[in-house]
Amino acid sequence: MTIKGKAYIAGIYEHPTRHAPDKSTPQLHAEVAKGAIEDAGLTKDDIDGYFCAGDAPGGLWPMVDYLGLNTKKLRHVDSTETGGCSYLIHLGHAAEAIAAGKCSVALVTLAGKPRTGPMPPRASGAEADFELAYGATTHNAYGMCAMRHMHDYGTTSEQLAWIKVAASHHAQYNPHAMLKEVVTVEDILNSPMISDPLHRMDCCVVTDGGGAMIVTTPEIARSLKKPLVRLIGHGEAMKGPRGGKDLDLTYSAGVWSGPRAFEEAGVTPKDIKYASIYDSFTITVLMQLEDLGFCKKGEGGKFVADGNLISGVGKLPFNTDGGGLCSNHPVNRGGMTKILEAVRQLRGEAHPKVQVQNCDLAIAHGTGGLLGVRHAASTCILERA
Protein backbone atom coordinates (compact mmCIF):
# COMPACT_ATOMS: atom_id res chain seq x y z
CA MET A 1 0.00 0.00 0.00
CA THR A 2 1.15 3.50 -0.72
CA ILE A 3 -0.09 6.97 0.20
CA LYS A 4 1.05 8.29 -3.19
CA GLY A 5 -1.60 10.69 -4.43
CA LYS A 6 -4.11 9.59 -1.80
CA ALA A 7 -4.15 12.87 0.15
CA TYR A 8 -4.27 16.54 -0.86
CA ILE A 9 -3.41 19.65 1.12
CA ALA A 10 -6.54 21.71 0.57
CA GLY A 11 -6.11 24.48 3.12
CA ILE A 12 -3.15 26.29 4.65
CA TYR A 13 -2.72 29.18 7.05
CA GLU A 14 0.30 30.77 8.68
CA HIS A 15 -0.42 33.18 11.50
CA PRO A 16 0.95 36.62 10.56
CA THR A 17 1.99 37.36 14.14
CA ARG A 18 5.52 36.89 15.41
CA HIS A 19 4.83 38.45 18.82
CA ALA A 20 1.54 37.74 20.56
CA PRO A 21 1.51 39.07 24.14
CA ASP A 22 -2.25 39.66 23.89
CA LYS A 23 -3.25 36.11 22.91
CA SER A 24 -3.36 32.68 24.56
CA THR A 25 -1.77 29.58 23.06
CA PRO A 26 -5.13 27.77 22.61
CA GLN A 27 -6.42 30.94 20.95
CA LEU A 28 -3.53 30.87 18.46
CA HIS A 29 -4.39 27.24 17.69
CA ALA A 30 -8.01 28.24 17.07
CA GLU A 31 -6.99 31.19 14.87
CA VAL A 32 -4.75 29.07 12.65
CA ALA A 33 -7.38 26.30 12.49
CA LYS A 34 -9.97 28.84 11.40
CA GLY A 35 -7.57 30.26 8.82
CA ALA A 36 -6.80 26.86 7.27
CA ILE A 37 -10.46 25.77 7.22
CA GLU A 38 -11.47 29.02 5.51
CA ASP A 39 -8.57 28.78 3.05
CA ALA A 40 -9.88 25.35 2.04
CA GLY A 41 -13.44 26.62 1.72
CA LEU A 42 -14.68 24.14 4.32
CA THR A 43 -16.34 24.50 7.73
CA LYS A 44 -15.38 23.26 11.16
CA ASP A 45 -18.10 20.63 11.00
CA ASP A 46 -16.33 19.02 8.04
CA ILE A 47 -13.36 18.06 10.24
CA ASP A 48 -13.30 14.34 11.04
CA GLY A 49 -9.59 13.99 11.84
CA TYR A 50 -7.43 16.09 14.17
CA PHE A 51 -3.67 16.10 14.64
CA CYS A 52 -1.62 18.05 17.18
CA ALA A 53 1.76 17.70 18.92
CA GLY A 54 3.48 18.75 22.13
CA ASP A 55 2.77 22.44 21.60
CA ALA A 56 -1.00 21.92 22.00
CA PRO A 57 -1.88 22.73 25.62
CA GLY A 58 -3.00 19.53 27.35
CA GLY A 59 -2.85 17.50 24.15
CA LEU A 60 -5.77 16.08 22.22
CA TRP A 61 -8.64 16.06 24.72
CA PRO A 62 -8.50 19.71 25.78
CA MET A 63 -7.79 20.90 22.23
CA VAL A 64 -10.67 18.99 20.63
CA ASP A 65 -12.97 20.34 23.31
CA TYR A 66 -11.62 23.92 23.22
CA LEU A 67 -11.81 24.12 19.43
CA GLY A 68 -15.34 22.75 19.58
CA LEU A 69 -14.68 20.10 16.96
CA ASN A 70 -17.77 18.07 16.12
CA THR A 71 -17.20 14.95 18.24
CA LYS A 72 -20.06 13.12 16.52
CA LYS A 73 -18.00 13.32 13.33
CA LEU A 74 -14.41 13.26 14.66
CA ARG A 75 -13.21 9.70 14.07
CA HIS A 76 -9.42 9.88 13.85
CA VAL A 77 -6.89 11.60 16.15
CA ASP A 78 -3.09 11.55 16.35
CA SER A 79 -0.77 13.31 18.80
CA THR A 80 2.56 12.07 17.47
CA GLU A 81 5.24 14.21 19.11
CA THR A 82 8.60 14.44 17.36
CA GLY A 83 9.48 18.06 18.10
CA GLY A 84 9.71 20.45 15.17
CA CYS A 85 9.08 17.81 12.50
CA SER A 86 5.87 16.55 14.15
CA TYR A 87 3.71 18.25 11.50
CA LEU A 88 5.59 16.65 8.60
CA ILE A 89 4.92 13.30 10.25
CA HIS A 90 1.29 14.34 10.83
CA LEU A 91 0.96 15.01 7.12
CA GLY A 92 2.18 11.51 6.34
CA HIS A 93 -0.04 9.97 9.01
CA ALA A 94 -3.05 11.96 7.81
CA ALA A 95 -2.46 10.60 4.32
CA GLU A 96 -2.28 7.07 5.73
CA ALA A 97 -5.53 7.57 7.65
CA ILE A 98 -7.24 9.05 4.58
CA ALA A 99 -5.97 6.21 2.35
CA ALA A 100 -7.33 3.72 4.90
CA GLY A 101 -10.70 5.47 5.03
CA LYS A 102 -10.29 6.46 8.69
CA CYS A 103 -10.99 10.15 8.04
CA SER A 104 -11.61 12.43 5.08
CA VAL A 105 -10.85 15.97 6.32
CA ALA A 106 -7.91 16.19 8.71
CA LEU A 107 -6.93 19.35 10.56
CA VAL A 108 -3.34 19.78 11.81
CA THR A 109 -2.51 22.71 14.10
CA LEU A 110 0.67 24.17 15.58
CA ALA A 111 0.83 27.28 17.77
CA GLY A 112 2.53 28.77 20.78
CA LYS A 113 4.27 31.79 22.21
CA PRO A 114 7.85 31.23 23.31
CA ARG A 115 8.52 35.00 23.18
CA THR A 116 5.75 35.96 25.55
CA GLY A 117 4.97 32.92 27.69
CA PRO A 118 6.57 30.01 29.47
CA MET A 119 7.67 27.02 27.40
CA PRO A 120 7.01 23.54 28.79
CA PRO A 121 10.24 21.82 29.85
CA ARG A 122 11.72 19.32 27.43
CA ALA A 123 10.80 15.79 28.51
CA SER A 124 13.66 13.46 29.26
CA GLY A 125 13.88 9.70 29.14
CA ALA A 126 16.06 6.91 30.47
CA GLU A 127 19.15 8.99 29.74
CA ALA A 128 18.27 11.76 32.23
CA ASP A 129 20.78 10.92 35.00
CA PHE A 130 23.51 10.41 32.40
CA GLU A 131 23.01 13.56 30.35
CA LEU A 132 20.96 16.35 31.94
CA ALA A 133 23.88 17.74 33.97
CA TYR A 134 25.86 18.46 30.80
CA GLY A 135 23.52 21.19 29.61
CA ALA A 136 22.69 20.10 26.08
CA THR A 137 20.66 22.87 24.41
CA THR A 138 19.65 23.38 20.82
CA HIS A 139 22.60 25.75 20.29
CA ASN A 140 25.35 23.52 21.59
CA ALA A 141 23.87 20.22 20.35
CA TYR A 142 23.82 21.61 16.81
CA GLY A 143 27.17 23.28 17.49
CA MET A 144 28.67 19.84 18.17
CA CYS A 145 27.37 18.60 14.80
CA ALA A 146 28.83 21.62 13.00
CA MET A 147 32.17 21.24 14.79
CA ARG A 148 32.53 17.60 13.71
CA HIS A 149 31.28 18.33 10.19
CA MET A 150 33.99 20.99 9.84
CA HIS A 151 36.59 18.55 11.22
CA ASP A 152 35.64 15.68 8.90
CA TYR A 153 34.83 17.60 5.71
CA GLY A 154 36.47 21.01 5.94
CA THR A 155 33.13 22.82 6.03
CA THR A 156 33.62 26.50 6.91
CA SER A 157 31.69 29.20 8.76
CA GLU A 158 31.62 31.19 5.50
CA GLN A 159 29.82 28.34 3.75
CA LEU A 160 27.31 28.02 6.60
CA ALA A 161 26.73 31.78 6.44
CA TRP A 162 25.59 31.52 2.81
CA ILE A 163 22.52 29.64 4.03
CA LYS A 164 21.48 32.61 6.18
CA VAL A 165 22.31 35.01 3.35
CA ALA A 166 19.95 33.09 1.03
CA ALA A 167 17.17 33.06 3.63
CA SER A 168 17.54 36.82 4.13
CA HIS A 169 17.29 37.46 0.39
CA HIS A 170 13.90 35.72 0.48
CA ALA A 171 12.71 37.26 3.75
CA GLN A 172 12.98 40.80 2.35
CA TYR A 173 9.83 40.09 0.33
CA ASN A 174 7.82 38.60 3.21
CA PRO A 175 5.92 41.39 4.98
CA HIS A 176 5.47 39.17 8.05
CA ALA A 177 9.12 38.08 8.34
CA MET A 178 10.71 38.84 11.68
CA LEU A 179 14.07 39.73 10.07
CA LYS A 180 13.62 41.46 6.70
CA GLU A 181 17.09 42.89 6.26
CA VAL A 182 19.33 41.34 3.61
CA VAL A 183 22.57 40.28 5.29
CA THR A 184 26.06 39.37 4.07
CA VAL A 185 28.48 36.58 4.92
CA GLU A 186 30.54 39.15 6.83
CA ASP A 187 27.53 40.21 8.91
CA ILE A 188 27.09 36.63 10.06
CA LEU A 189 30.76 36.00 10.79
CA ASN A 190 30.87 39.24 12.78
CA SER A 191 27.82 38.37 14.89
CA PRO A 192 28.61 37.09 18.40
CA MET A 193 29.65 33.47 18.85
CA ILE A 194 26.87 31.66 20.73
CA SER A 195 28.12 28.08 20.85
CA ASP A 196 31.18 27.33 18.73
CA PRO A 197 31.16 27.29 15.78
CA LEU A 198 27.65 28.77 15.54
CA HIS A 199 27.24 32.55 15.54
CA ARG A 200 24.08 34.32 16.57
CA MET A 201 23.12 34.73 12.92
CA ASP A 202 23.55 31.00 12.29
CA CYS A 203 20.53 30.59 14.58
CA CYS A 204 16.83 30.81 13.73
CA VAL A 205 14.42 33.37 15.15
CA VAL A 206 12.23 32.73 18.20
CA THR A 207 8.63 33.63 17.38
CA ASP A 208 5.11 33.46 18.72
CA GLY A 209 2.54 32.27 16.22
CA GLY A 210 1.62 29.10 14.42
CA GLY A 211 0.19 27.46 11.37
CA ALA A 212 -2.35 24.89 10.28
CA MET A 213 -3.30 22.77 7.29
CA ILE A 214 -6.22 20.74 6.02
CA VAL A 215 -5.45 17.35 4.49
CA THR A 216 -8.23 15.70 2.55
CA THR A 217 -9.25 13.13 -0.07
CA PRO A 218 -8.69 13.67 -3.81
CA GLU A 219 -12.49 13.87 -4.31
CA ILE A 220 -13.05 16.58 -1.71
CA ALA A 221 -9.96 18.52 -2.86
CA ARG A 222 -11.26 18.57 -6.44
CA SER A 223 -14.61 19.90 -5.23
CA LEU A 224 -12.87 22.94 -3.69
CA LYS A 225 -11.51 26.06 -5.38
CA LYS A 226 -7.81 25.98 -4.49
CA PRO A 227 -5.07 24.74 -6.84
CA LEU A 228 -4.50 21.04 -6.22
CA VAL A 229 -1.45 19.98 -4.20
CA ARG A 230 -0.97 16.36 -3.24
CA LEU A 231 1.43 14.27 -1.18
CA ILE A 232 3.20 11.65 -3.29
CA GLY A 233 5.86 10.40 -0.90
CA HIS A 234 6.54 10.38 2.81
CA GLY A 235 9.30 9.07 5.03
CA GLU A 236 10.05 9.20 8.73
CA ALA A 237 13.02 8.05 10.78
CA MET A 238 14.77 8.44 14.12
CA LYS A 239 18.40 8.60 15.23
CA GLY A 240 20.24 8.73 18.55
CA PRO A 241 23.52 7.70 20.14
CA ARG A 242 22.16 4.17 20.70
CA GLY A 243 24.48 3.00 23.44
CA GLY A 244 27.35 5.07 22.11
CA LYS A 245 28.36 2.72 19.27
CA ASP A 246 29.74 4.20 16.02
CA LEU A 247 28.75 7.74 16.96
CA ASP A 248 28.59 9.95 13.86
CA LEU A 249 27.05 13.40 14.26
CA THR A 250 27.70 14.45 10.67
CA TYR A 251 24.48 12.93 9.35
CA SER A 252 20.83 13.04 10.42
CA ALA A 253 17.92 10.61 10.26
CA GLY A 254 17.18 12.28 6.92
CA VAL A 255 19.49 9.68 5.36
CA TRP A 256 16.67 7.22 6.02
CA SER A 257 13.50 9.33 5.77
CA GLY A 258 14.60 10.93 2.48
CA PRO A 259 15.11 7.77 0.40
CA ARG A 260 11.83 6.34 1.76
CA ALA A 261 9.95 9.42 0.55
CA PHE A 262 11.72 9.65 -2.81
CA GLU A 263 11.14 5.95 -3.48
CA GLU A 264 7.44 6.21 -2.73
CA ALA A 265 7.13 9.31 -4.90
CA GLY A 266 9.14 7.76 -7.74
CA VAL A 267 11.26 10.89 -8.14
CA THR A 268 14.84 11.91 -7.33
CA PRO A 269 16.41 15.01 -5.76
CA LYS A 270 17.31 16.21 -9.28
CA ASP A 271 13.58 16.48 -10.09
CA ILE A 272 12.81 18.83 -7.16
CA LYS A 273 12.02 22.44 -8.19
CA TYR A 274 11.69 23.92 -4.70
CA ALA A 275 12.93 22.76 -1.28
CA SER A 276 11.61 23.64 2.17
CA ILE A 277 14.41 22.49 4.47
CA TYR A 278 14.21 22.84 8.25
CA ASP A 279 16.54 25.65 9.25
CA SER A 280 16.78 25.77 13.03
CA PHE A 281 20.44 26.55 12.38
CA THR A 282 22.50 26.91 9.22
CA ILE A 283 24.17 23.55 9.90
CA THR A 284 20.74 21.88 10.00
CA VAL A 285 20.15 22.86 6.37
CA LEU A 286 23.60 21.84 5.20
CA MET A 287 23.45 18.37 6.76
CA GLN A 288 19.91 17.71 5.56
CA LEU A 289 20.73 18.72 1.95
CA GLU A 290 23.53 16.15 2.01
CA ASP A 291 21.39 13.52 3.71
CA LEU A 292 18.55 13.96 1.20
CA GLY A 293 20.96 13.51 -1.71
CA PHE A 294 20.99 17.03 -3.14
CA CYS A 295 24.78 16.73 -2.97
CA LYS A 296 27.29 14.16 -1.69
CA LYS A 297 28.06 13.85 2.02
CA GLY A 298 30.70 16.41 2.89
CA GLU A 299 30.01 18.60 -0.15
CA GLY A 300 27.18 20.59 1.44
CA GLY A 301 29.48 23.55 2.07
CA LYS A 302 30.29 23.93 -1.62
CA PHE A 303 26.66 23.29 -2.56
CA VAL A 304 25.18 26.10 -0.46
CA ALA A 305 27.88 28.70 -1.24
CA ASP A 306 27.59 31.60 -3.65
CA GLY A 307 23.83 31.93 -3.53
CA ASN A 308 22.95 28.45 -4.79
CA LEU A 309 19.87 28.43 -2.52
CA ILE A 310 18.57 31.85 -3.63
CA SER A 311 15.43 31.77 -5.79
CA GLY A 312 16.16 33.00 -9.31
CA VAL A 313 19.92 32.83 -8.68
CA GLY A 314 20.90 29.34 -7.62
CA LYS A 315 20.02 25.79 -8.62
CA LEU A 316 17.94 24.90 -5.56
CA PRO A 317 15.61 27.65 -4.30
CA PHE A 318 14.96 26.98 -0.63
CA ASN A 319 12.76 28.47 2.12
CA THR A 320 11.44 31.29 -0.03
CA ASP A 321 9.39 32.67 2.87
CA GLY A 322 12.63 33.47 4.69
CA GLY A 323 12.40 30.24 6.68
CA GLY A 324 13.08 29.82 10.35
CA LEU A 325 16.36 31.69 9.98
CA CYS A 326 14.62 34.97 9.09
CA SER A 327 10.82 34.74 8.98
CA ASN A 328 9.15 32.46 11.49
CA HIS A 329 9.90 29.52 13.78
CA PRO A 330 6.69 29.33 15.81
CA VAL A 331 7.10 27.60 19.18
CA ASN A 332 10.63 26.61 18.15
CA ARG A 333 9.02 24.13 15.75
CA GLY A 334 9.62 24.68 12.06
CA GLY A 335 7.95 21.68 10.40
CA MET A 336 4.57 23.29 9.72
CA THR A 337 5.92 26.42 8.02
CA LYS A 338 8.06 24.18 5.79
CA ILE A 339 4.91 22.55 4.43
CA LEU A 340 3.04 25.84 4.11
CA GLU A 341 5.67 27.53 1.91
CA ALA A 342 6.00 24.39 -0.24
CA VAL A 343 2.23 24.49 -0.82
CA ARG A 344 2.39 28.22 -1.68
CA GLN A 345 5.11 27.48 -4.25
CA LEU A 346 3.11 24.63 -5.80
CA ARG A 347 -0.04 26.78 -5.88
CA GLY A 348 1.91 29.64 -7.44
CA GLU A 349 1.05 31.78 -4.42
CA ALA A 350 4.59 32.58 -3.25
CA HIS A 351 5.74 36.19 -3.48
CA PRO A 352 6.36 36.98 -7.19
CA LYS A 353 9.98 37.89 -6.44
CA VAL A 354 10.66 34.39 -5.10
CA GLN A 355 8.06 32.26 -6.92
CA VAL A 356 9.79 29.40 -8.71
CA GLN A 357 8.70 29.18 -12.35
CA ASN A 358 6.64 26.12 -13.24
CA CYS A 359 6.97 24.79 -9.71
CA ASP A 360 5.32 21.37 -9.94
CA LEU A 361 7.41 19.30 -7.52
CA ALA A 362 8.60 20.30 -4.05
CA ILE A 363 10.10 18.75 -0.94
CA ALA A 364 9.32 19.69 2.65
CA HIS A 365 11.75 18.13 5.09
CA GLY A 366 12.57 18.60 8.73
CA THR A 367 14.11 17.23 11.87
CA GLY A 368 12.83 17.44 15.43
CA GLY A 369 14.55 17.09 18.78
CA LEU A 370 18.27 17.75 19.02
CA LEU A 371 20.31 16.87 15.94
CA GLY A 372 23.39 16.17 18.04
CA VAL A 373 21.54 14.05 20.60
CA ARG A 374 18.25 12.33 19.73
CA HIS A 375 16.07 13.39 16.84
CA ALA A 376 13.43 12.44 14.32
CA ALA A 377 13.27 13.33 10.64
CA SER A 378 10.42 13.46 8.20
CA THR A 379 10.37 14.01 4.45
CA CYS A 380 7.32 14.90 2.37
CA ILE A 381 7.33 15.06 -1.43
CA LEU A 382 4.55 17.27 -2.76
CA GLU A 383 3.26 17.64 -6.29
CA ARG A 384 1.02 20.08 -8.11
CA ALA A 385 -1.80 17.93 -9.45
Binding site: N140, G143, A146, I194, G244, L247
Partner: protein, 129 residues
Amino acid sequence: MSEAKKYNAPVTNPETAPFWEAAKAGKFMIKRCTTCGEAHYFPRAICPFCFSDKTVWEESSGEATVYTYSLMRKSPTGPYAIAYVTLKEGPSLQTNIVDCDLETVKIGQKVKVVWKPTDGAPLPFFTPS
Protein backbone atom coordinates in the same frame (compact mmCIF):
# COMPACT_ATOMS: atom_id res chain seq x y z
CA MET B 1 33.41 28.64 36.66
CA SER B 2 32.60 24.95 36.40
CA GLU B 3 34.10 24.30 39.87
CA ALA B 4 31.50 26.54 41.47
CA LYS B 5 28.61 24.97 39.55
CA LYS B 6 26.03 23.06 41.61
CA TYR B 7 24.86 19.82 40.05
CA ASN B 8 21.65 17.98 40.89
CA ALA B 9 22.05 14.53 42.38
CA PRO B 10 21.16 11.67 40.06
CA VAL B 11 17.68 10.30 40.73
CA THR B 12 18.86 6.70 40.11
CA ASN B 13 16.67 3.61 39.70
CA PRO B 14 17.06 -0.14 40.22
CA GLU B 15 18.54 -0.58 36.74
CA THR B 16 21.29 2.02 37.19
CA ALA B 17 21.91 2.00 40.98
CA PRO B 18 25.10 -0.13 40.68
CA PHE B 19 26.62 2.55 38.42
CA TRP B 20 26.04 5.24 41.04
CA GLU B 21 27.23 3.03 43.93
CA ALA B 22 30.47 2.43 42.02
CA ALA B 23 30.71 6.16 41.27
CA LYS B 24 30.82 6.84 45.00
CA ALA B 25 33.95 4.64 45.09
CA GLY B 26 35.43 6.55 42.12
CA LYS B 27 34.82 3.74 39.64
CA PHE B 28 33.44 4.55 36.18
CA MET B 29 31.34 1.60 35.06
CA ILE B 30 30.04 0.64 31.64
CA LYS B 31 27.92 -2.33 30.63
CA ARG B 32 29.05 -5.14 28.35
CA CYS B 33 26.88 -7.78 26.72
CA THR B 34 28.26 -11.30 27.12
CA THR B 35 26.17 -12.52 24.20
CA CYS B 36 27.36 -10.15 21.45
CA GLY B 37 30.43 -8.80 23.24
CA GLU B 38 29.54 -5.13 22.68
CA ALA B 39 30.04 -2.50 25.39
CA HIS B 40 27.47 0.27 25.76
CA TYR B 41 26.78 3.46 27.72
CA PHE B 42 24.61 4.66 29.47
CA PRO B 43 23.98 1.31 31.14
CA ARG B 44 20.92 -0.78 30.31
CA ALA B 45 19.74 -4.16 31.63
CA ILE B 46 19.06 -5.34 28.09
CA CYS B 47 21.72 -4.93 25.39
CA PRO B 48 20.66 -2.17 22.95
CA PHE B 49 22.38 -4.03 20.10
CA CYS B 50 21.38 -7.72 20.32
CA PHE B 51 18.63 -7.38 22.97
CA SER B 52 20.18 -10.07 25.16
CA ASP B 53 19.60 -9.74 28.90
CA LYS B 54 23.13 -11.07 29.59
CA THR B 55 24.74 -7.72 30.32
CA VAL B 56 27.44 -7.32 32.98
CA TRP B 57 29.09 -4.36 34.70
CA GLU B 58 32.67 -3.58 33.71
CA GLU B 59 34.98 -0.90 35.06
CA SER B 60 36.07 1.49 32.32
CA SER B 61 39.61 2.85 32.16
CA GLY B 62 37.99 6.30 32.18
CA GLU B 63 40.32 7.18 29.28
CA ALA B 64 38.72 8.77 26.25
CA THR B 65 39.19 10.94 23.17
CA VAL B 66 37.14 14.04 22.32
CA TYR B 67 34.85 13.18 19.38
CA THR B 68 33.30 16.63 19.17
CA TYR B 69 32.53 19.60 21.41
CA SER B 70 30.93 23.02 21.47
CA LEU B 71 31.88 25.87 23.76
CA MET B 72 28.57 27.25 25.01
CA ARG B 73 29.24 30.95 25.59
CA LYS B 74 25.75 32.17 26.42
CA SER B 75 24.74 30.58 29.69
CA PRO B 76 23.51 32.08 32.97
CA THR B 77 25.91 29.77 34.86
CA GLY B 78 28.92 30.71 32.76
CA PRO B 79 30.54 29.17 29.67
CA TYR B 80 30.89 25.40 29.45
CA ALA B 81 32.23 22.90 26.95
CA ILE B 82 29.72 20.21 26.07
CA ALA B 83 31.28 17.25 24.30
CA TYR B 84 31.02 13.69 23.15
CA VAL B 85 34.03 11.61 24.14
CA THR B 86 34.81 8.09 22.95
CA LEU B 87 35.98 5.73 25.69
CA LYS B 88 38.99 3.46 25.13
CA GLU B 89 36.50 0.58 25.52
CA GLY B 90 34.43 1.83 22.56
CA PRO B 91 31.24 3.62 23.60
CA SER B 92 30.88 7.36 23.09
CA LEU B 93 29.06 9.48 25.63
CA GLN B 94 27.90 13.01 26.27
CA THR B 95 29.79 14.98 28.91
CA ASN B 96 31.45 18.31 29.70
CA ILE B 97 35.18 18.97 29.43
CA VAL B 98 36.14 20.65 32.71
CA ASP B 99 39.05 21.95 34.81
CA CYS B 100 40.97 23.42 31.88
CA ASP B 101 41.13 26.44 29.58
CA LEU B 102 37.95 25.80 27.61
CA GLU B 103 39.39 27.64 24.57
CA THR B 104 41.99 24.86 24.19
CA VAL B 105 39.55 21.94 23.87
CA LYS B 106 40.08 20.12 20.56
CA ILE B 107 38.66 17.16 18.64
CA GLY B 108 41.00 14.21 19.14
CA GLN B 109 42.26 15.45 22.51
CA LYS B 110 42.94 12.77 25.16
CA VAL B 111 40.80 13.14 28.27
CA LYS B 112 40.13 11.20 31.46
CA VAL B 113 37.18 10.90 33.82
CA VAL B 114 36.92 13.24 36.82
CA TRP B 115 34.11 13.27 39.37
CA LYS B 116 32.07 16.27 40.54
CA PRO B 117 30.13 16.12 43.79
CA THR B 118 26.37 16.40 44.20
CA ASP B 119 24.18 15.91 47.25
CA GLY B 120 24.01 12.23 46.18
CA ALA B 121 26.37 10.21 43.99
CA PRO B 122 29.05 12.17 42.10
CA LEU B 123 28.74 12.81 38.36
CA PRO B 124 31.35 11.88 35.75
CA PHE B 125 33.02 14.63 33.72
CA PHE B 126 36.17 14.59 31.61
CA THR B 127 39.35 16.66 31.76
CA PRO B 128 42.49 16.74 29.58
CA SER B 129 44.83 13.87 30.55
